[in-house]
């Protein structure tokens, strides 16, 4: 018998006429997530049923629980619609529960209205059947130690004991394509994840400063993308070398403005790359007011260089919430690896916190921007990072 997993989706069900598209995308993404397991993904009413080799059950659950659009999933046992079969399976499953979990309830969901017993009736029948065979058990509807759930569909029944939460959100690929500015810090991976959660196909752009920074800081970006790819299968990662630009800024411009000047150059490069790649928006890990570069004034002056839509999903989050999310996504330990990165390098003693646009532009007039951007774009390297 193959392992069967019932996959539920939340938000999609609400989307009216777009529903077909959403379901198709989610089904494709589920198949992609399981492509190395010889699994099948079958569409049912408001559900997907995944069947795959038993020995891969744990891995399949793990993969599916990261796919955006999935609300929750359960590994299930399948029976026919004969009540005696259902009772037998219920008994077998209750027998697998550790003996110290005594209080239980039965919960039935009947989408097949032809089934001769209504849900409360099924609950009662199965409940008493279990009590009869396992005298240690006791019904507790409020706080059961375990719940035996039954879903009755048009041609079969599914029984399960556990439920694993998925990330929710929308299937990746459904809302558009965006470029994530990925620094290697704690924030940007979380921002990227939130963008993907809203159905965006995300590509990532990492700036480095080799040879001032280590190849290991580039490896950080790759490793972070590998974690994010858990939700989408793969992420295209672009890397651009900022060393020449940073040298030039250091030589010609005011030290206090180094950060904002660098960030404006980064945005110009991100816009250029987005145009080349057909990406519609930028995603950054910016949050308000954490550091000098994130004052409202800094952000305003920085984003003046582009007309592109910039999404900042972390703007409503506290540092602590961001850190917790990063820990949950498994990117935190990667982000805190202590290598110099292109933003910690040449950090000025007293960065300006309230820059004025005309001052910034005066500084930029000292640079040969066009050739700097051309040189930086020539350093572009792209890799496809897979899950």
């Amino acid at each position: 018998m193959p392992a069967k997993i019932l996959v539920r989706y939340g938000e999609i069900a609400l989307k009216g006429k777009n529903r077909g598209r959403f379901e198709q995308q989610l089904q494709n993404n589920l198949k992609e997530a399981l492509k190395d397991f010889q699994a099948t993904v079958e569409k049912m009413q408001g559900r997907f049923l995944v069947s795959g080799p038993k020995e891969n059950r744990g891995k399949m659950v793990e993969r599916l629980s990261k796919v955006f659009g999935v609300a929750s999933l359960s590994t299930v046992e399948e029976t026919g619609l004969d009540l005696e079969d259902i009772k037998m399976m219920a008994l077998e499953m209750a027998g697998r529960v550790p003996t110290d979990e005594k209080e239980f309830k039965v919960e039935t969901r009947r989408s097949n209205k032809q089934f001769p017993y209504p849900s409360p009736e099924v609950n009662k029948i199965l409940g008493s059947h279990l009590l009869e065979h396992y005298p240690r058990l006791k019904v507790n509807l409020e706080q059961p130690a375990f719940t035996l759930s039954i879903e009755i569909s048009h041609n079969r029944a599914f029984l399960y004991l556990d439920r694993v939460e998925g990330p929710g959100g929308l299937p990746v690929g459904i809302t558009g394509r965006a470029l994530l500015m990925l620094s290697g810090g704690i924030d940007s991976p979380v921002a990227g994840w939130l963008g993907m959660k809203r159905g965006l196909t995300v590509e990532a752009l990492h700036f480095h400063s080799f040879p001032f920074t280590s190849r290991r800081s580039q490896e950080k970006a790759v490793d972070i993308c590998r974690k994010l790819a858990a939700g989408s299968g793969s992420i295209r990662l672009h890397m651009i070398n900022m060393a020449s630009i940073q040298k030039e800024l250091r030589a010609k411009c005011s030290e206090e403005m180094a950060i904002i000047l660098l960030r404006r150059m980064m945005l110009r490069l991100a816009e250029k790359l987005s145009t080349d790649r057909g990406l519609q928006a930028l995603i950054t890990g910016e949050s308000l007011g954490q550091v000098a570069s994130q004052t409202l004034e800094s952000i305003i002056v920085t984003e003046k260089v582009t007309d592109m839509l910039i999404l900042r999903p972390l703007v409503g989050m506290d540092k602590k919430e961001i850190v917790n999310k990063a820990v949950e996504l498994d990117t935190y330990d990667i982000s805190i690896r202590p290598y110099e990165d292109c933003c910690t390098l040449f950090l000025p003693q007293n960065p300006v916190t309230r820059p004025k646009l005309d001052q910034v532009e005066n500084q930029e007039a000292k640079l040969d921007q066009e050739s700097l951007i051309k040189e930086a774009m020539a350093s572009l390297e792209t890799t496809l990072v897979k899950r």
Binding site: F210, P211, F212, T213, S214, R215, K247, R250, A251, R337, P338, Y339, E340, L345, F346
Partner: protein, 387 residues
């Protein structure tokens, strides 16, 4: 581009003879040394040949050599094995503040988890322990003293010929352990003058493979094994022998030990030429640890104030020169190494320290070339970092 490898205290390039020898051992002599048939006997012969080769650096007694997975395990077996097995005689231990983490963390474990009391000897600003101070710390409860031979980061050669006798005069039953990972086969180990009982060695520091090292334990020294199993290594280190690595370790020791004095003289003069050339270049530098003419012949640690060590390291890497900032085991931690901190160096010197370590694979021409490249890199980076 030509590569100049100056990180020989981290690991060394294996001898071609060792690679051939190990390949044959892996391919043809794959038997388990404990097996009674011909295949087992062939493999056992390789292990015993290696044991004889290693024993020749000590007392020629093969039954005093215990093969381990490397220096870390040898240090663990010596420090934890001796302390735990001999705790009936007392609970006081002495070591220095500049030991390798595989020694230091064993003592911290014994202190925090096993109820031992430990004294950590400070060192002077060149990294030397004061033998008189060791003597002062010895009490009647003292059961072990552990002091390394050559410091892995700064090359200090500890005055073990003074420390050992002072300890043994105070109480002959105190066990004296020496971590000789940096010096084994490269330098003479005068275990008689040291009056040592335990000496740790590693294969990959002497152009042998990773995965093999040994503990020399004087006949009669009582140790508790770290692992329990099938009785190999006279029950002190069970587990099927890593035959190819042990064989390679034995051959590497033999090759490294041959005409050692001539090689040491050559290495010493390499190091001094390197230092002289750097000094003549006129860049600002400070030697950390012992004076160049005093330290181990293959290690020198130098600060280039004003430049973060990681940045200089990568700039040298781009020029084909491989050095180390901190020791490789440390460089994933944010702080400067505990060893440099113990010397009481200024913050500026701590942040800008690089270690260069040499082997007979290096040549005089390389030294001059490397020094010139380093001077050039330092000047170039200074113009960017401190314009």
């Amino acid at each position: 581009m030509e590569e100049i490898y100056l990180d020989n205290s981290s690991t060394t390039r294996p001898y071609p003879e060792v690679i051939d020898f190990m390949g044959t051992a892996l391919d043809k002599n794959f038997g388990n040394p404990s097996s009674l048939h011909q295949k087992g006997i062939e493999a056992e012969k390789l292990v015993e040949e290696a044991r004889r080769r290693i024993a020749s650096f000590f007392t020629d007694r093969e039954d005093e050599i215990y093969f381990t997975s490397g220096g870390t395990e040898a240090n663990n077996l010596a420090v934890k094995g001796a302390a735990l097995r001999n705790r009936n005689r007392g609970n006081h231990l002495i070591t220095s503040q500049v030991e390798h983490p595989s020694v230091l963390n064993c003592f911290r474990y014994l202190e925090q988890e096993e109820g031992f009391s430990v004294d950590y000897l400070p060192v002077d600003n060149r990294g030397f322990v004061d033998p008189e101070q060791v003597k002062k710390l010895v009490k009647k409860e003292t059961i072990m003293v552990s002091i390394m031979h050559v410091n892995n980061e700064i090359g200090t050669v500890q005055p073990l010929e003074e420390v050992g006798p002072l300890v043994k005069d105070a109480n002959p039953s105190i066990l004296f352990h020496v971590d000789a990972v940096q010096s084994f086969a490269r330098m003479a180990l005068d275990i008689n003058s040291w009056q040592a009982d335990l000496v740790s060695c590693s294969g990959h520091k002497i152009h042998g493979p990773r995965g093999a090292g040994c503990l020399w334990a004087k006949k009669g020294t009582l140790l508790q094994p770290l692992f329990h199993g099938g009785g190999q290594e006279r029950e002190l280190r069970p587990g099927t022998e890593n035959v190819p690595a042990i064989a390679g370790f034995g051959l590497a020791a033999k090759l490294t030990g041959e005409s050692r004095q001539r090689k040491a003289a050559a290495l010493g003069s390499l190091k001094l030429s390197f230092y002289q050339a750097l000094e003549n270049s006129g860049v600002e530098l400070y030697v950390n640890g012992p004076l160049p003419e005093n330290g181990a012949v293959h290690i020198i640690n130098i600060s280039f104030p004003g430049l973060p060590s990681e940045v200089l390291l990568h700039s040298l890497e781009e020029r084909g020169i491989f050095a180390s900032s901190g020791s490789a085991c440390h460089s994933r931690k944010p702080e400067p190494s505990h060893i440099l901190q113990t010397l009481g160096l200024s913050e500026e010197r701590l942040q800008s320290a690089l270690r260069f370590s040499f082997s007979f694979y290096n040549s005089e021409q390389e030294m001059e070339f490397a020094a010139a490249q380093i001077a050039e890199a330092v000047r170039e980076l200074k113009s960017i970092f401190n314009p």
